[in-house]
Every structure is written in structure tokens, then in C-alpha cells.
């Protein structure tokens, strides 16, 4: 079981996933897909927390990660409710068409 993995690789993985999340956030047009990209970003951050928690040999990182998950859950619930409402009113899921706040 020897041959560990350098910790920095975990961080790199986290960075890659975060970047993918940002890309999805910017490039996708479907609201739900944008939301899921946000969730991906949150997951990447969670990985970073756990990694550093391992590195510092403290469990606080796990706690942070736990709270991130809780907040993600709440946010998902409310966000999806909003998406439902928007869909009911605008009949569309494309974020480009929800632009009535234009100057």
C-alpha cells in the first residue's frame, strides 16, 4: 500500500473541476445546466477542503465541507423553485431570453 499520491495532485484535480464548472457556468444556456455547473464548482471546493484537512491532520476541513454541502442543498432547493417560477412565467429555460432587466 505504499506509493502515496502527492497532495498537490488532489489540488490540481480540484482546480480542473473548478475550471470546468466555470466554463459550464459561462457557456451553457440552459438554466438548469448552469446550476449544475455551480454545483460542480462547489464539489471541487469541497475536495480542496478535505485535502487540506488531511494535510493539517485536523478535522475542521471536514466541518467546512459539511457546511458547504448544507448550504448547497438549501441553495439548490430555493434556486430550483425560482427556476420553476421563471419557467411558469416566461415559458423558457434559456437564460438569454430572461433579459427584462436590461437598461
Amino acid at each position: 500500500m505504499s506509493g502515496g499520491v502527492p497532495m498537490s495532485w488532489y489540488l490540481i484535480l480540484s482546480a480542473i473541476l473548478f475550471g470546468l464548472g466555470v466554463a459550464g457556468f459561462i457557456y451553457r444556456r440552459n438554466i438548469i445546466t448552469v446550476f449544475m455547473s455551480i454545483e460542480l464548482m462547489l464539489n471541487a471546493v469541497n475536495l480542496t477542503f478535505i485535502t487540506f484537512s488531511y494535510s493539517l491532520k485536523q478535522v475542521d476541513g471536514h466541518i467546512f465541507s459539511f457546511f458547504v454541502m448544507v448550504v448547497a442543498a438549501a441553495e439548490a432547493a430555493v434556486g430550483l423553485a425560482i427556476i420553476l417560477t421563471v419557467f411558469k412565467n416566461r415559458e423558457t429555460l434559456m437564460i438569454d431570453e430572461v433579459s427584462s432587466m436590461k437598461y
Binding site: G3, G4, Y27, I32, L40, N46, L47, A72, A73, A77
Partner: protein, 166 residues
């Protein structure tokens, strides 16, 4: 062994991530996200986070993503149409830029982190439920209570927003 598992599941995570961003149908994206979460759970296990791994699967993949799938099916979201006039140049330039950005980050991390220690499965066992619970109910009691209020608010909000009259 640790390295092998790492590479397999890291690869799955990245692959699912790309597929999340690249797929047109939301359901495919949702399923990809579930894949990412699963692989991450394995990685958490490797890092000694037993409780978090379980929570990830149960809460994140099991509840939140199910909610997502429900909403997608409820809204009957179809595949995205053609992209509106995003120039080909921007599309490919964006990918290249993204790759460059990630490469830069990786390089920085590699260069600046000193003698990183290796992650070996089982080297640290401080992430058990008991440890998390102990910390949660002593040092982080206040945030814990506050988040419960937060969830209450989210609950009320979701119910109100999703009603018929709004």
C-alpha cells in the same frame, strides 16, 4: 494502490465533468454530475473522510441531484438548440484558454507547495463520524444552529415560490 485508485477515479471525475459541460441534454448533464460526485466520494475515502464521503453520496448525490432530475423531468427540458452566434473562434479560443489557465494553476500549485506529503489510504483516521460530530457540537455549535435556521428559511422559501399563485 492509492495512486492507481486516484488516477482511475480522478479520470472518471474529469471525464464526467467534461461531459457535464459538453452535453446538450440536461438529463445527461445531471447524470454526469452524479458521476463526478461518486468519484469524489471515493477520493474523500482515500483522504480519510469517511463521514464526508457518506454524506456526499447520501445528501449530495442522493438528494440534491435527485431533486435536479425531478425538476428537469417536471419542466420537460429538452436538449439545447444551436448556440446563438458564438463564433467558432470564441469557442475554440475559450477551450485553449481554459486549458492554459488550468495548466498555469497546476504549475503554480506544484511549484509553490513545499514537500507535499503523500496521501496514503489509511494514513489518517481523524475523519470519522465521531470526530466530526465531536467538533461539530463543541467548537462549531453556533454555525450548526445557524445553518439549521438557514435550512428552515430555504424550506419556507421553496414552498412559497413553488406555489400555484405566484
Amino acid at each position: 494502490m492509492t495512486a492507481l485508485i486516484f488516477f482511475i477515479f480522478a479520470g472518471i471525475a474529469v471525464f464526467c465533468g467534461i461531459s457535464l459541460v459538453a452535453q446538450t441534454h440536461p438529463i445527461a448533464s445531471a447524470l454526469s454530475l452524479i458521476g463526478v460526485m461518486g468519484s469524489l466520494a471515493i477520493l474523500y475515502l482515500q483522504l480519510g473522510g469517511e463521514f464526508i464521503a457518506a454524506a456526499q453520496v447520501i445528501v449530495y448525490a442522493g438528494a440534491i441531484m435527485v431533486l435536479f432530475v425531478f425538476v428537469i423531468m417536471l419542466l420537460n427540458a429538452g436538449a439545447e438548440g444551436t448556440s446563438l452566434n458564438v463564433s467558432q473562434f470564441a469557442k475554440y479560443a475559450g477551450i485553449v484558454l481554459l486549458a492554459a489557465f488550468l495548466g498555469l494553476i497546476s504549475f503554480i500549485i506544484q511549484a509553490t507547495l513545499p514537500k507535499t506529503e503523500s496521501v496514503v489510504f489509511g494514513a489518517w483516521d481523524g475523519g470519522t463520524a465521531a470526530d466530526v460530530g465531536r467538533k461539530l457540537f463543541t467548537s462549531y455549535l453556533l454555525p450548526f444552529e445557524v445553518t439549521s435556521v438557514l435550512i428552515l428559511i430555504a424550506l419556507v422559501g421553496a414552498v412559497v415560490l413553488a406555489r400555484k399563485e405566484i
